[in-house]
Amino acid sequence: MELKFILESLLFSAQKPMSVKELRDVFATAATAEDAEEMATSLKKVKDEDVTAALEMLAGEHSTAARSYRLVCVAGSWQFVTQPEFAPWLKALVGVKARPSRLSQPALETLAIIAYRQPVTRAEVEQIRGVNIDGTMQTLLERGLVESTGRAEVVGRPQLYSTTTLFLEYFGLRGLEDLPAADELRRIVVEKPPAPVTVDPGLATAPPEQLKLENPEAKSENTETPQT
């Protein structure tokens, strides 16, 4: 019996998503049973890494098999979910999922900034978005997607905001590192060109050394040399 198949059976029958810790608790309990088999006893003190590795392998196998369901890790807990393309039939079977209304564009933008830059103050978010965010912050706080996680040690000690576990669950993310392009957006470093960009050729300044936004090389150059 392999560890991954034991895990598979556990997740198959679990009533809720299981974290690695909860799975390890199951192993510990199983090993203390009176008629515990050798296998169960040997897994009593299974390591976190082993469980995670087995789960990863299992998830990989499921995705290779291209079944109608897959194993995912959301907010650190593993569970089986269906593939999105089968939603029409599942909706007919179990009804439409009870989910709050979709987030508005401003709310999504604000949330994205908080997600990548957390912990972050309201002023920092406003600086990036260029607009006041009182209203959208209120919505996000009410919906429990962000929370206050302390105060910044700067003048006025403004509140710092971070995303919650619910945020990860809402977007089906494993963790913050699972955010798309996390490294790039956590700190966008834009290199200042040696000569300032000319805004209107022929007017004043020297011809520009211009950067392409979509050019990957230019992008990597930018990130390599941080602007200080």
Binding site: S13, Q15, P84, A112, I128, G172, K192, A204, L213
Partner: protein
């Protein structure tokens, strides 16, 4: 820039002085014939209002303008952008939209950038803050790039949000092992059963004491085993008294009761009492046991002859079945399960 300057200018000028049309004013306008020039302007306003509301702020508007120009953010002509931006702000004012302060800050920044551009490099004033590399143009572009990236990230989140709505988790139904037999009072002892059968027998006590009739024994225990199993195959559980409802004589009751005891001994049945003093319920032993290894013949109630002691007809309870011999009357689930597995 968007309005036909010749016709509508007069109206817009008036409008600007009025600052905000009263509802009565609008009503008056709306009663005008559709061909009236003022009506056209109003319609125009309505269309633009919708369009402006999608801009989340000055940066959003700038990105929109850049996109319209189909140029890279780094290559954008800021002076041209400044002109367009201010034209939009003008338009917003004409249409009586509330202009957020952020738009005005951005407009002034753009105007500042534009004004600097008009001067040759050597004549440009070096502002103190710019000595440490704060070029307003560069600052603006940096801000735009940053905002654009987060806007893209927000779009990705939006896609995830929509996808997530279509993902359904596996939620197995709650398995109710616990509430099955063990939760109900499991220990119905042989004495409980004897008491119960005595109650049933009292029904016949009076009838039979008055008249003495001799009749042949029509019932056998094996027939009754079959009967009990048939009843329990058709439904999950049966009340104790129900089994004896159709019994016509004392002997039949005893036969049925012996069949019951026999089945309990063979771990085919489990007796439970949901609550103290309630009627005893009889059900099949835990499905796990049946599935684990009971031969199908036994399960369906047809007992192979010879395997089981078939008591003689009309046998008394005390004769062959002292209480000690029917230990399984309590039908302990777990021990039953292990026993079957071992055998």
């Amino acid at each position: 820039m968007f309005l036909s300057q010749t016709k509508s200018n007069r109206f817009l000028t008036v409008h600007r002085n009025v600052t905000r049309p009263s509802p009565a004013d609008i009503a008056a306008v709306l009663t005008l014939p559709i061909t009236h020039p003022r009506f056209k302007v109003l319609r125009f306003m309505a269309e633009y209002k919708v369009q402006f509301e999608v801009f989340e702020g000055p940066l959003d508007l700038l990105l929109y303008l850049i996109k319209k120009e189909e140029v890279d953010i780094y290559e954008v002509n800021l002076t041209k952008l400044a002109t367009q931006f201010i034209a939009h702000i003008d338009l917003m004012r004409e249409f009586d939209l509330e202009i957020a302060g952020e738009f005005l800050v951005m407009a002034s920044t753009l105007m500042y950038i534009k004004s600097r551009e008009l001067l040759p490099v050597d004549q440009q004033v070096v502002v103190e803050s710019e000595e440490d590399g704060e070029d307003p143009r560069w600052e603006l572009i940096r801000q735009l790039v940053e905002y654009k990236k987060f806007k893209d990230a927000a779009a990705k989140l939006q896609v995830r949000e929509a996808t997530q709505e279509n993902i359904f988790p596996r939620l197995p139904g709650k398995m109710e092992f616990a509430s099955d037999a063990p939760a109900a009072k499991p220990d119905v002892s042989i004495f409980d059963l004897l008491n119960a059968v005595n109650v049933v027998l009292q029904r016949f006590a009076k009838v039979e004491s008055s008249s003495r009739e001799i009749y042949e024994d029509k019932w056998t225990v094996s027939e009754k085993i079959e009967y009990v199993m048939t009843v329990l195959n058709s439904r999950p559980s049966v009340r104790f008294a129900e089994l004896f409802e159709n019994a016509s004589s004392r002997t039949e009751v005893i036969c049925t009761f012996l069949a019951l005891l026999e089945l309990i001994r063979l771990k085919q049945l489990a007796c439970t009492q949901p609550e103290a003093f309630e009627e005893i319920e009889i059900r099949k032993a835990a499905p796990a046991v049946v599935a684990a290894g009971v031969p199908p013949a036994v399960e369906s109630g047809i007992l192979p002859p010879g395997d089981h002691a078939e008591p003689p007809r009309g046998m008394e309870i005390s004769a062959n079945h002292p209480p000690g011999e029917t230990p399984a009357s309590t039908a302990d689930e777990t021990s039953a399960a292990t026993d079957t597995r071992q055998s």
